[in-house]
Symmetry: C2
Subunit: 368 residues, 2 copies
């Protein structure tokens, strides 16, 4: 969970325990950034020759529970004890947190700039005890438990009045920024709303002001009427490749009914969503051969109340292209794969066919 | 200049000549994306085993001028002829353009979505005939010529009433997205203003509305008064590590006088800027050992007239960390190197010391 610094000569893993962090605001755009506060290492640390291997046993596997901070949530048999090796989903504080629950939020001026101390939370949702598996291979029932853990942790952090947003995201594969292979999701609770979410909120609100309709509901309507980019519909959800996909095979999953907060899903919707998530990752796996990807839950801020103009959704972005700094610096993406084409491939996957690497599925199924 | 698609099993270079492109707008955020329009390759093309090597001689070296489209600008001796091998800076259309001058701009609705045909321009500024060199090694006089070429091409494209913005950017090193080693900058002229520039314009305008001062001028003032992040000041420019740096060693260069358009610099300012650019890249080279980086000119839209609230600047972002999709997806960066620390390293570089790889400098100096 350390931060990777890839240099021409090697890779440095930054141990966040040696640091405190702070939040700083860019005065031009209003973007908040988490910046390390402690005195940093010497420049030679950015010029290491060999990649530091995490080494040792995986801290997320059974028997190594003591290698992580004590769990904040776990699904385990009722006669079991905390941190014992019989859980099926386990949530722990990140050993190298970017933000920590270190007391009150302090907001102050730093000359002309704006500053907040590094208050918040950073957790890891260990998705399964099985080291070698993925969302494409886990059974639906198990994915439902993972989604349920997301819900409980969002609710828990939302109770903290200092927290303005709870980010749920997942990096799968080294190219997508994952530093540990064992399937896990991360949660960062922040005292500010991330700028891209603010942008979405603002854009969606101005669409609503003009049309008196939710823009996401309109997108769902259009994709259902003319299914050029519709991968699959379930009872309550829809998986699409968005019209203005930034990157090849960008995929979104949205609830068909209007809902601004993930945690307000009904119980039977969790089951339905788990199935669609599993099938969508299976499709991506088949077409792109287990691609590295980033997965993010975009939700309304926890204490905003239900919003008529915002619609929570999942964004999945396979990491197939090198995103040049130019692209995220300008916001101007060049996508060589039209979403209609990506959709044709994904829709064409035969889901009845057994996945060649799906042996892990059976192993997990045997656990609980 | 083809687009790279990195897959688990290899790399695909997309040849844009086989494609037409179009611009599509994300209805939520208003972000425009360039999307390929033609029927794409089959999915196996995303699963290639071996990296396609560009192979053959470098199209940007002397003697291979016929391998690029005919030049649109070149600095060469007055008795020379077009496309002859005696230029020192040469501008050509990109052989695989993301946008092309293919007639009138067509803006239309595509159901609920907004669409523009792929009209614009995509050029390459070949910075020098020397294959193995960089902005850290080229002499100041030569960098001035490159900056002058930027100016002339911005002016040229700005005359086209269909063009709303001219993006000048540079990817150095494969990790930063460069597909050819020979030093070159790219120019993309677009019928829309990129979203990050729009964000900056909007943020800077609202700061101005409140304070009646330019936010960039205020930043320059603060960094000069309390030089914690001030790398170097020249007569007319300043190089800093910004307060809310997104990534380690993020570096900006700004003119000290208020100016919203790069192309309005005075001639003697070009000379001064060339020196500061050269020294700044030398510092980055020394501290980070020739890091891959992205370089971008942020300027006001060409036909906006001089803006009291916007201040053109250069952004340089070394590609040291893996930017997880999470980070550009949320806009929430975690920067493990405080800019004050980055600044201490960069400021400490002894510029009188000869660069070990600076042999190329002499070679270039001998050319003109």
């Amino acid at each position: 969970m350390a931060t990777r610094i890839d240099c021409p000569l090697g890779t440095l893993l930054i141990d966040w325990t040696a640091l405190l962090s702070e939040l700083r605001k860019d005065p031009i755009t209003g973007r908040w950034v988490i910046v390390a506060r402690e005195r940093r290492k010497r420049p030679k640390d950015f010029r290491m020759v060999h990649e530091e291997s995490p080494g040792g046993p995986c801290p997320f596997c059974y028997g190594n529970e003591h290698q992580t901070p004590g769990e904040t949530l776990a699904f385990r048999p009722s006669n079991s004890t905390r941190n014992a090796a019989d859980w099926w989903v386990r949530v722990v504080p990140n050993k190298f947190p970017a933000l920590e629950d270190s007391g009150d939020v302090v907001r102050k001026a730093d000359g002309m700039y704006d500053w907040i101390n590094g208050v918040g939370a950073h957790e890891v949702i260990i998705e399964t005890p099985v080291h070698q598996t993925s969302l494409a291979q886990l059974p639906e029932d198990h994915i439902k438990e993972i989604l349920w853990a997301y819900r409980l942790r969002i609710e828990e952090h939302s109770r903290n009045p200092d927290i303005e947003y709870v980010l749920i995201f997942k990096n799968h594969g080294a190219a997508a920024g994952a530093s540990l292979e064992h399937p896990h999701t991360q949660l960062i609770a922040t005292p500010v709303v991330p700028i891209r979410v603010r942008e979405e909120l603002k854009g969606a609100e101005s669409y609503y002001d003009y049309k008196d309709r939710c823009v996401f509901c309109d997108i769902i309507g259009q994709e259902e009427r003319k299914p050029l980019r519709l991968i699959e519909e379930s009872k309550s959800f829809i998986a699409i490749n968005p019209y203005a996909s930034r990157l090849p095979f960008e995929t979104w999953i949205l609830p068909r009914r209007h809902l601004s907060h993930f945690e307000m899903l009904w119980i039977d919707e969790f089951e339905d969503l788990a199935g669609l998530v599993q099938r969508t990752f299976m499709r991506l796996w088949r077409v792109l051969d287990d691609p590295p990807y980033n997965f993010m839950l975009h939700v309304a801020p926890p204490r905003s109340g239900e919003l008529p103009y915002y619609h929570w959704h999942i964004e999945i972005i396979p990491t197939l292209t090198t995103v040049a700094g130019f692209e995220w610096g300008s916001g101007f993406y060049i996508n060589p794969v039209p979403p209609e084409e990506a959709c044709r491939f994904l829709r064409g996957v035969d889901l009845t066919q057994t996945n060649s690497r799906a042996g892990a599925e059976a192993k997990v199924a045997g656990i609980h």
